[in-house]
């Protein structure tokens, strides 16, 4: 965006006026996200199995989008805090207004053991950015219990700040067949 040109300076006619508009929104945590967040604070990742199709989702959600069947407490199950990197990208963060990221970082989709859906946009840590591979086995780096404040984001994906990042376990990579169907 062009900077504001002040009249009186020798910069020609005014072409742009900068107008920063700030709007405040209060996004309430849904009861389900609150429940998921409670479990995260206790160090548990809880997913759900759809009673109709049997697919396991994590984080929890109110309904299976494939079957359009409601999912509730009776469908819950605990998942391991380990999984496979199914896809990733290394980002150079664009410095837009409000951007807090500065250095290059990696985001990955992770297929947790026992889950059928991946969790996206997860941070990776503990290794050089140029050595990340699809199929890498990772485990959660949990924040200290007293710092796991927020519940899952209001859109229901992610782990809030309960899990800081995922680090390689050192175990051999998963074969392609195990994650090829989960590129998301």
């Amino acid at each position: 965006m062009t900077d504001t040109e002040r009249p009186g300076e020798d910069s020609g006619p005014v072409r742009f006026m900068t107008q920063h508009i700030a709007l405040d929104y209060v996004v309430r945590v849904s009861p389900l996200a609150e429940r998921f967040g409670e479990q995260l604070r206790s160090g548990r990742i809880v997913g759900q199995r759809c009673s109709s199709c049997g697919l396991v989702y994590v984080p929890m959600r109110a309904f299976c989008p494939m079957c359009t069947v409601a999912m509730g407490e009776e469908d819950e199950l605990e998942l391991a805090d380990r999984g496979i990197v199914t896809s990733f990208t290394v980002l150079t963060p664009i410095q837009y207004h409000g951007q807090k990221e500065r250095d290059d970082y990696a985001l990955a989709s992770i297929l947790l053991e026992g889950a059928d859906g991946t969790v996206g946009q997860q941070r990776l840590t503990g290794m050089p950015l140029d050595q990340i591979r699809m199929g890498m086995r990772v485990e959660a780096v949990w924040a200290p219990p007293e710092e796991r404040a927020s519940a899952a984001g209001e859109r229901g994906y992610g782990f809030g700040n309960a899990i800081e990042a995922w680090r390689p376990t050192g175990a051999p990579d998963a074969p392609t067949a195990e994650f090829a169907a989960h590129v998301l």
């Binding site: 990208t89 837009y96 590129v183």
Partner: protein, 381 residues
């Protein structure tokens, strides 16, 4: 049954990084005026307006049809605003064609736009929050997956980047003009979202596109040959679910199958003369060649490598320069649809492909989950 629908006028702005000489209304009016001139009609002749644009936060104008009503000659008329993420330019044209094909309206003006210089796109793409990864950051893993699956050589991405920018040199409206572009320049450009390099990525542009759609009587009365609509389709699929394939999404395949069926296309690579498809990152050309049925799974990159997608090839793709050369996000889908119309009508000037009878326009958006397509021909369906 559906009425026939004709494209009788096409207009667009000179897409560029910053249009500081026009307001948002002025930008649209420029495109609209050109489309009406092309159609030899006036604002008064229009009986409905359909606009489309990407999220309101891109310009900070909520529901812009309200502000734009005056500029678009819509006072006293119906106006709709379509919003289907990146495919919006295409789905807007589809909604406009529905108004004609249903017999509800006779002469519809449809416009799509983005004035990205009046906002901060990356901020908006990030939902107004920190940590926004941009479109490239989202699609990069899918591109990696395609390259891994197909074993395509890495220069395929560079080839598309070069082809589209060289085509853009023949398009007076295109934004990026890189006369010296070559494979090495693309290869050496910085990596932005690994594995996508800067020169393999689309620009951010200010721009607008407009078309005039009429019923059969309007098409017959047009002094310039119209492009006739032979099929339109839209498909949406869930953006994330276990086992989803975002690399060759079913929504795209179903959308293509639907529109080909309507148009009687049974062998796409033979039956279609030119494709304007939505390629914002160069690898999407081979990916869409497969998704749209022009090549088998894992084979799309061969069409690029063999030069078949060049203007002189078997299936020219994006002779206009495509999204890689001009990307006013909300307008980009409609530009694909409009360029397809120009090819059929023979009005594409220097980037005209010879002997076009059948053209396909394509747009996609969201998590590669929204698709819009149309098929145009120089004869009536």
């Amino acid at each position: 049954m559906a009425e026939r629908c004709a494209v009788v006028g096409v207009g667009q702005t000179h897409h560029t990084k910053v249009r500081d000489d026009v307001s948002l209304a002025g930008l649209l009016r420029e495109a609209g005026h050109r489309a009406l001139e092309d159609a030899e009609m006036s604002w008064r002749d229009i009986d409905a307006v359909v606009i489309g644009t990407a999220p309101d936060s891109f310009e900070g104008v909520m529901m812009p049809e309200l502000y734009l009503a005056d500029a678009l000659g819509a006072a006293g008329k119906p106006i709709l605003r379509v919003h289907t993420a990146g495919s919006v330019g295409g789905s807007t044209a589809v909604v406009a064609s529905h108004l004609v094909q249903s017999g509800v309206r006779e002469r519809v003006l449809t416009l799509a736009f983005e004035k990205q210089s009046e906002g901060d796109t990356t901020w908006a793409l990030g939902g107004g929050r920190s940590g926004g990864v941009g479109a490239g950051g989202y699609f990069a893993p899918h591109i990696r997956a395609y390259i891994s699956r197909s074993k395509a050589p890495e220069y395929v991405g560079w080839m598309v980047a070069v082809k589209d920018r060289r085509n853009a040199l023949k398009n007076p409206y295109a934004h990026l003009k890189l006369p010296d572009i070559d494979l090495e320049m693309v290869r050496d450009s910085p990596m932005v979202w690994e594995p996508v390099r800067r020169l393999e990525s689309c620009p951010a542009s200010d721009g607008a596109c407009a078309m005039v759609l009429t019923d059969e009587a309007g098409g017959d009365a047009a002094s310039k040959p119209p492009a006739w609509v032979h099929g339109t389709a839209v498909r949406s699929e869930l953006g994330q679910f276990p086992g989803r394939d975002p690399v060759n999404p079913r929504g795209g395949r179903d959308c293509a199958a639907d529109v080909y069926r309507q148009a009687g296309i049974t062998n796409p690579i033979e039956d279609v003369d030119v494709v304007e498809c939505y390629v914002p990152f160069s690898w999407y050309e081979p990916m869409w060649m497969e998704n749209l049925g022009f090549a088998g799974p894992g084979e799309g990159w061969r069409l690029t490598e063999d030069g078949e997608t060049e203007i002189g090839g078997t299936l020219p793709v994006n002779p206009s320069g495509g999204v890689l050369s001009s990307n006013p996000i909300g307008a980009s889908g409609m530009l694909r649809f409009a360029e397809a119309a120009m090819q059929v009508r023979g009005t594409a000037g220097e980037h005209q492909v010879d002997g076009v009878r059948t053209a396909v326009g394509h747009a996609y958006g969201g998590a590669a989950q929204y698709f819009a397509m149309w098929v145009l021909r120089d004869t009536k369906p």
